[in-house]
Subunit: 506 residues, 2 copies
Amino acid sequence: MNNSKVLIKREWTSIGSLDESKVGQKVLIRARIATSRLQGANLCFLQLREKLFTVQAVIAKGGVCSKSMVKFAGDITRESIVDIEGTISKTQVPIESATQKNVELHVTSLFVVSEAQQLPILLEDLSRNQALLDQQDSEINEISRLLENTSLTNEEKEELTAKKSAASRYVNVGLSQRLQNRYLDLRVPANLSIFRIQSAVCALFREFLSAKDFTEIHSPKIISTASESGASVFKLGYFNTHAYLAQSPQFYKQMAIASDFDRVFEIAPVFRAENSNTHRHLTEFVGLDMEMAFKDHYHEVLDTLDEMMCFIFKGLESRFNKELETINGQYPFEPFKFTYPSPRFTFDEAAKFLAEEAELLKDETYIVQNNDFSTRQEKKLGQIIKKKFGVDFFIVDKFHTEVRPFYTMPDPNNPGLANAYDLFMRGEEICSGAQRIHDAKLLEENAKHHGINVADIQSYIDSFKFGCSQHAGGGVGLERVVMLYLGIFNIRKTSLFPRDPQTLLL
Amino acid sequence: MNNSKVLIKREWTSIGSLDESKVGQKVLIRARIATSRLQGANLCFLQLREKLFTVQAVIAKGGVCSKSMVKFAGDITRESIVDIEGTISKTQVPIESATQKNVELHVTSLFVVSEAQQLPILLEDLSRNQALLDQQDSEINEISRLLENTSLTNEEKEELTAKKSAASRYVNVGLSQRLQNRYLDLRVPANLSIFRIQSAVCALFREFLSAKDFTEIHSPKIISTASESGASVFKLGYFNTHAYLAQSPQFYKQMAIASDFDRVFEIAPVFRAENSNTHRHLTEFVGLDMEMAFKDHYHEVLDTLDEMMCFIFKGLESRFNKELETINGQYPFEPFKFTYPSPRFTFDEAAKFLAEEAELLKDETYIVQNNDFSTRQEKKLGQIIKKKFGVDFFIVDKFHTEVRPFYTMPDPNNPGLANAYDLFMRGEEICSGAQRIHDAKLLEENAKHHGINVADIQSYIDSFKFGCSQHAGGGVGLERVVMLYLGIFNIRKTSLFPRDPQTLLL
């Protein structure tokens, strides 16, 4: 065990940097043993893995390399970390199973730095291509369906059962087992890449807003009243009293605007005590929030949001090619399509698209009720817009007042409508926002109208009494953006240690 | 009220950009009325404020400007937001009270965009120079002391009382009143600047680590067991069970290392249910956390932390001059001194410095007890090192094992010591860190030795069973760094909406 006994400095080479330009060079590498394969007593092949990259290493008896070293190499457990020295050599034929296909390492020394115990799940199984697993599933399902036929002869039954067993070529590790062993699941290069993309989304969000002179804020998550919205909220003990967990930084980012911060953003956890067990709900997620004073019209802010999202999409595409390729190798997905500026519709226009589709498909469930979209209608809207405009990202503006929070500014030109918008990726909402009411009197009236106890939010209302810039903003759900950009349809896969109502693992 | 009725685009000029190069130009500005002063019926002077900048505006009867417009301008309440048009003109003598001293605005049109109600506290009082207030306090205290003398004649008493009343020249707004009106207090340019510095510390932290290929992570704040440390923890209801708020991302950033993230950082809230009512404790603060796999020695990580902090100090100094100047104008402070690399001592060396000082001052309270520093000893240590080395930032390495958490790697060369360090600014700890135990067996033994129920942290321990890189890291308290860099000695002033055991305001 390395406990920093000696202070030394050595030169290290990363597996990702190994290519033909390094042939003949002696290098020192730290990596995991992904697989090892003894070939007789004198030859051992290792696959070494370092983050997203793999290379083949060869340990052959001869020179400094003894027979016992070959055996030692073959006996190292998978996932152990080794320090390995050797010479880079060109391969005869490309190694298809490695990311570095044209070179291999001829090993001269090998030390185990951290030994792995027997694995509960193989990385190989955790890394399997999803398309193969889906195909296997559908084959098995088809055979199972045939097996349900009660008029089968015993012979036919046996034949189908054998076929079914043969069709189960791969272990299909379920999500719950993955999450129980999350520290192994995350090592899978596609998963490491998902979280590099997640990190990149935050970095691009900040890069864009910082260039526009936004200030980053940190608003409190422990709050004294639970009155921002009707949604459920987590309650905690707070010394001799109790408190709640913030459902969003909404009030605080608006107070920052009232305090002349002018433009603010925050990246922070958001807590929702809703008992929603869907593919896209978490009880704790990361909010990318922004709020911005504008001069004349809230479309200054909506335009900024549009430009920001397209900046993020473009940044991912142009700077994270290796990560996207790695994810695509395990979870194949359609590249995300967008144009800037993005298509933008009013809510009523979007509802009309859906009504046309309802008529076409003779499916009344696509007709919008109660001036709001259902999840299913949103999904369909995404398909319609993809077909009509060829893009996966679009904006819906001018939602109806009745479905928006009390602090939303009404549209002065259209009674019943609000200066409120949603942003959509692949037919799912990823951002909700609006111009906010910056007039204390109107805000208080609206709060009362919504049945809110004004005393509970007095400071928030008071903050608008001493002059406040008109402002608008929005909150983007980080895990949803990553999930939908990558076409992964379960948000638990884009949250490091996901929280939902059922489980509080790890 | 602007509710985005018409979509227009106008050209705006910021007050900060106004200088002699703009003389003669017509500009449109949005700003607050900081003060207004009518001079007779035909002339009004306004001070306009936009974030950190102020300029004088003159409204004089004549041309497009009527007498009623002068009156209108004089009647606008302070802190109201106005859209104001006019021509830039050179001033006869510099306007000392404005940041833009050499130009003023000759107003041709004026609209109130958002009207302020009567203010509970004047911005002028919130902006007063702290040195003036401290001087006033000490004068008043001195007179009060004299008044306590029982042998005073009535005449002397009256004289002193009059003197005391005359000494109270300024309203000294206390911290609690400031926090109750935080949305006004934050408008003060020095306070706006404090939070621009806070934002900058985060940006510099990320800039430095991102350039070294660190990945940003978001670990959960709702956790199932409260066993990281003995410190108190907030408990919350979680559907049919209960959960806790994370006291740090420690376990999760280490699990990310076990998952091959290699280098991670996180900026997120940290929750501590300690009933500590001091100048430097909050129940919720922002943690700047990092964790890093190293090759041979944990000093690779400690060197990175040192370089990182100096990068932040240098960045503040070189890029945020205006903000630092503005803060200094209200809260005068000694510039923060550092050298890179920073002075570094072992705990035992630092204890020796203190022992020498104890002998010199004949003050035994400076002698270190129980192998740990008291707050008072840390403060003294800061003074000693400032005197000896001329710097406000230094590192203490090799703390004793007994005062560090169970997951700290022992020093293999010195029994009783650990590979553990603290970073100090102006004699206060701002970062605690160490090499961590990456061996599951030793970690489990240590946990048991510390009386921890191993089953509660089984996943954390299991994550090290399948090979893990040696690693070290640390957590920096954001509000403390800002407080100490600026020499402000109450952490509530560097937290946007501070949380302590007594108050959950706003």
